[in-house]
């Protein structure tokens, strides 16, 4: 299609760098999908769609063979080959942010120009999930030295590097101008390989607008064509607006509370934890605070994930909660501290306030502090409060990732349970997850993971609240719906503007 349309986009943030290996964050992933292509990508229903890899096949338990698309060109004009994949893989293993995800992988074996093997050290069921993170870089472009003698491929967390200011991928858009924090301009890559793509946008201007209300106003007053995220409070308004269109999806980011058993004796008692689980009205929070813009949760895995357990339902029942408190010997309640960020998740501080009010009903007095994220995370690392709110999105789009970071027995050496601020520890469950992680039969694996969810639920290991929904809004005529997905990586290359 002729790419002649212009699109003005307002996100809450712009990409912090052009080096997609410098940071693992939503913004960078969005950039990756605009200027690069992955080997394969997620479809709307969480299946896989080939991109730079045309096909793949399992060679053995530890090896997967990929065949690459031919005739693909980088922005620089260089031809795309297996060597670029190898280069990219090695660089990912260097990246501080990505190396953890690529830990199970040992190497890339180049077979020929368009064929390579991806090798893991052990059987790894999530190989393809992870492969969605491989956006091949232009190895020739990123090799060698800059004028002042620096390695072009270096990943620099701070200070400018070649890669953070220059980019050459295979993606649909090249970056023509970038003023950080102000705007980024993209232009359709003339030699883009995917000629079947219906996308007809020739130029994209991305402006970061951090303030929710301003972003919405920008759309309503016609200043921009497409905004994300849409704050829950404004959903109605956009729905009512004749010139705008709203797209929502239930998301995969779980919001939950940890109850720190090391700080509060009572939290060691499962009855108390269950009481709290019964006291929290997930439906209420989702309906009122999130304006229905969240899916009440009773577990961590969202629908579509292997670990998602259909049977688990929110269990709001104040009477039951009071009874449990009484049984546990805490009829008169106790006082705890609670902490939540106030600018990290959608309505995070309001959620925490509401939860505090709900706990007050079972005589748990809550001393709540909400903090900006920069101050919240250090406190979180110190486990500075008795209950802490956290949101989690599995980078691998897989349930096991939740458990590894949020419920595993904390172990500083292996890094397990890094964000387990409840200090909940059940080695049995951990073992079960470990087993699932090398189970390549996906059905068996799903059963194991669902069992894990059930056990965590029974034990009230944490208090799940909801999965944060996703919302985008665009002007009428900008057909965003087809290019959106739950990972929140709009495939703008395929966007059609009428």
């Amino acid at each position: 299609a002729d790419a002649t349309k212009n699109l003005k986009v307002a996100y809450d943030a712009d990409p912090v760098t052009l080096d997609i290996h410098e940071q693992l964050s939503g913004g960078i992933m969005q950039l990756s999908h605009m200027s690069f292509d992955p080997l394969l990508r997620w479809t709307k229903d969480l299946g896989f769609e080939p991109r730079l890899a045309e096909s793949w096949e399992r060679v053995d338990d530890n090896t997967m063979r990929f065949r690459l698309r031919k005739g693909v060109k980088f922005h620089s004009g260089n031809e795309f080959t297996s060597a670029d994949v190898e280069f990219t893989f090695d660089r990912l293993k260097q990246s501080q942010d990505f190396k953890a995800i690529f830990k199970p992988f040992s190497r890339v074996d180049v077979i020929d120009e368009y064929t390579f093997d991806l090798v893991t050290s052990e059987p790894y069921p999530l190989l393809l999930n992870t492969a969605t993170y491989i956006f091949p870089l232009d190895s020739k472009f990123y090799s060698g030295q800059t004028e002042d003698g620096k390695d072009k491929g270096a990943i620099l967390k701070h200070g400018s590097s070649f890669a953070s200011d220059n980019l050459s991928g295979t993606g649909p858009y090249t970056v023509t101008e970038r003023k950080q924090g102000v705007r980024v301009e993209f232009e359709r890559f003339a030699d883009y390989w995917d000629t079947d793509s219906p996308g007809n946008v020739g130029k994209i201007v991305l402006t970061p607008i951090k303030e929710n209300a301003t972003r919405v106003s920008a759309l309503l007053s016609g200043g921009v064509d497409f905004i994300a995220p849409v704050p829950p409070n404004d959903l109605d308004r956009i729905k009512r607006d004749r010139n705008s269109e709203l797209v929502t999806m239930s998301g995969t980011r779980i919001i939950l509370f940890h109850m720190n058993q090391e700080r509060v004796e009572a939290f060691k008692n499962p009855k108390v934890r269950q009481a709290i689980a019964y006291a929290i009205n997930q439906e209420g929070i989702a309906a009122k605070i999130m304006k229905g813009f969240a899916t009440p949760a009773a577990q961590m895995s969202p629908a579509g994930y292997q670990g998602h357990n259909e049977n688990l339902k929110p269990r709001f029942d104040v009477e039951k909660a009071k009874k449990l408190m009484k049984e546990a010997g805490y009829e008169d309640g106790f006082t705890i501290t609670m902490m939540a960020p106030n600018n990290r998740y959608v309505n995070d501080d309001k959620i925490a306030q509401a939860a505090a009010a709900m706990l007050a009903r079972i005589n748990i007095k809550v001393d709540l502090k909400t903090l900006p994220k920069a101050q919240f995370w250090p406190e979180y690392d110190n486990r500075a409060a008795d209950m802490m709110l956290i949101g989690w999105h599995a980078d691998t789009e897989d349930s096991a990732n939740f458990y590894e970071f949020l419920t595993f027995c904390p172990d500083a050496d292996s890094g397990a349970g890094q964000y387990n601020a409840g200090n909940y520890c059940n080695p049995e469950i951990d073992a079960l997850v470990e087993k699932a992680n090398v189970e390549t039969d996906l059905d068996k694996r799903a059963a194991m993971l669902q069992d894990v969810e059930q056990r965590l639920y029974d034990d009230a290991a944490f208090i799940p609240l909801h999965w944060q929904d996703l919302a985008w809004a665009a002007k009428k005529g900008v057909n965003i719906e087809p290019v959106l997905n739950v990972m929140n990586f709009p495939y703008l290359g395929d966007l059609v503007v009428e």
Binding site: H158, G159, S160, K210, G223, A374, F405
Partner: protein, 349 residues
């Protein structure tokens, strides 16, 4: 004159020193800059390594000395978030803020002088009373409320149907209060003209100017009433003076008396206050820029705070301190030129 300059330079240095020490002393309190730099799943060892690399684990004194050492050579360090020299980041954001301040100052000057003078010459006229009333209300409304209301009225627009539409006057009133909206409510627009260096200006294109309107008006809304009141009060006092009476006794016309004799004397104190207010206005841009997502220094600063981007915070504070001292010095110089009775010394007037 020499003493005056030496005094100002030393004041500027002192301001910058104090700020940098304070900013460094508090950096731990602002949060962990790493949170914005790495993804959630990065392990603690990795984080520790980055910290070490950035020198964040050194003691306060070591960090400060390192900073001061390079600061003396004009290097205020690299912004964590922007990954480039903090001064460069500031230089990029400065034009946006300056344009905002210039625009607001123009509005203030163009409106405050005639209104203030009028209200002083005709204190009893209903129009004067109206202006004074509005200005009192004006200083009582926080700038962010003004900004919110402006956006609602002029960007989004409101449709009013409070009045009976079937009567002519009702319809007229409805139409009167109904606003179209359509003025840009965020950012500087796409149509900027590149001047030099990092300076892109919105002053030369229709779109650029349109984007300037609401932010400038709301920024001006805080200072305008102050200036009107100040000019009026000073002018009223000047009008009572003997030399004004004398000018009248000489048979001079009202125009010459009001606009030469009185106004010139009125503007002297106003200039001094204006200088201070100009400095304060730079700080107020924090609020305006937040609401209008104006990509200037204020927004940058606030974001730097939420990101604990210490080098940028320090640099911003130092630069703003410097701007304040420089504008004050300029204003004092102008004051010295305009007012024949003072000679510049190190002492405050």
């Amino acid at each position: 004159m020499l003493a005056f300059l030496v005094q100002r330079v030393s004041q500027a240095l002192l301001v910058m020193f104090v700020i940098s020490v304070i900013a460094f002393a508090i950096q731990d309190g602002l949060g962990d800059p790493l949170q914005e730099m790495v993804g959630m799943s990065v392990s603690s060892e990795e984080r520790e390594a980055i910290r070490e690399e950035l020198g964040l684990n050194d003691s306060f004194v070591v960090q400060y000395l390192r900073f001061a050492g390079s600061a003396i050579q004009g290097d205020l360090g690299n912004s964590y978030f922007y990954s480039k020299p903090a001064l460069e980041v500031i230089a990029e954001h400065l034009p946006a803020t300056l344009e905002l301040v210039i625009g607001a100052s123009l509005i203030i000057i163009v409106l405050s002088v005639p209104i203030g003078v009028y209200a002083a010459i005709r204190p009893q006229a209903w129009l004067s009373k109206f202006f004074m009333g509005v200005s009192t209300v004006g200083i009582s409304i926080p700038v962010f409320l003004t900004a919110i209301v402006l956006i609602q009225l002029f960007s989004i627009g409101v449709t009013v149907n409070w009045f009976p539409a079937d009567t002519g006057w009702g319809q007229w009133l409805n139409e009167f209060f109904t606003t179209e909206g359509g003025l840009p409510s965020y950012g500087r627009g796409d149509d900027l003209v590149h001047l030099f260096g990092t300076w892109e200006s919105g002053l030369f294109t229709g779109e650029g100017l349109a984007h300037l309107v609401l932010p400038c008006v709301s920024l001006a809304s805080i200072m305008l009433p102050l200036f009107i009141r100040l000019i009026r009060a000073e002018m009223m006092e000047v009008l009572q003076s003997d030399y004004i009476r004398y000018a009248r006794a000489k048979g001079l016309g009202a125009g010459r008396i009001n606009f030469l004799h009185a106004l010139k004397n009125t503007m002297l104190p106003v200039i001094t206050v204006g200088g201070v207010q100009l400095g304060i206005m730079v700080a107020y841009t924090i609020l305006t820029e937040t609401v209008f997502q104006w990509p200037g220094l204020g927004l940058m600063f606030l974001e730097a705070i939420t990101r604990s981007d210490i080098p940028l915070i320090v640099a911003y504070l130092m630069v703003v301190g410097l701007i304040f001292v420089v504008t004050n010095t300029l204003v004092d110089l102008i004051y010295g030129l305009v007012n024949p009775t003072v000679k510049l010394t190190g002492k405050k007037a």
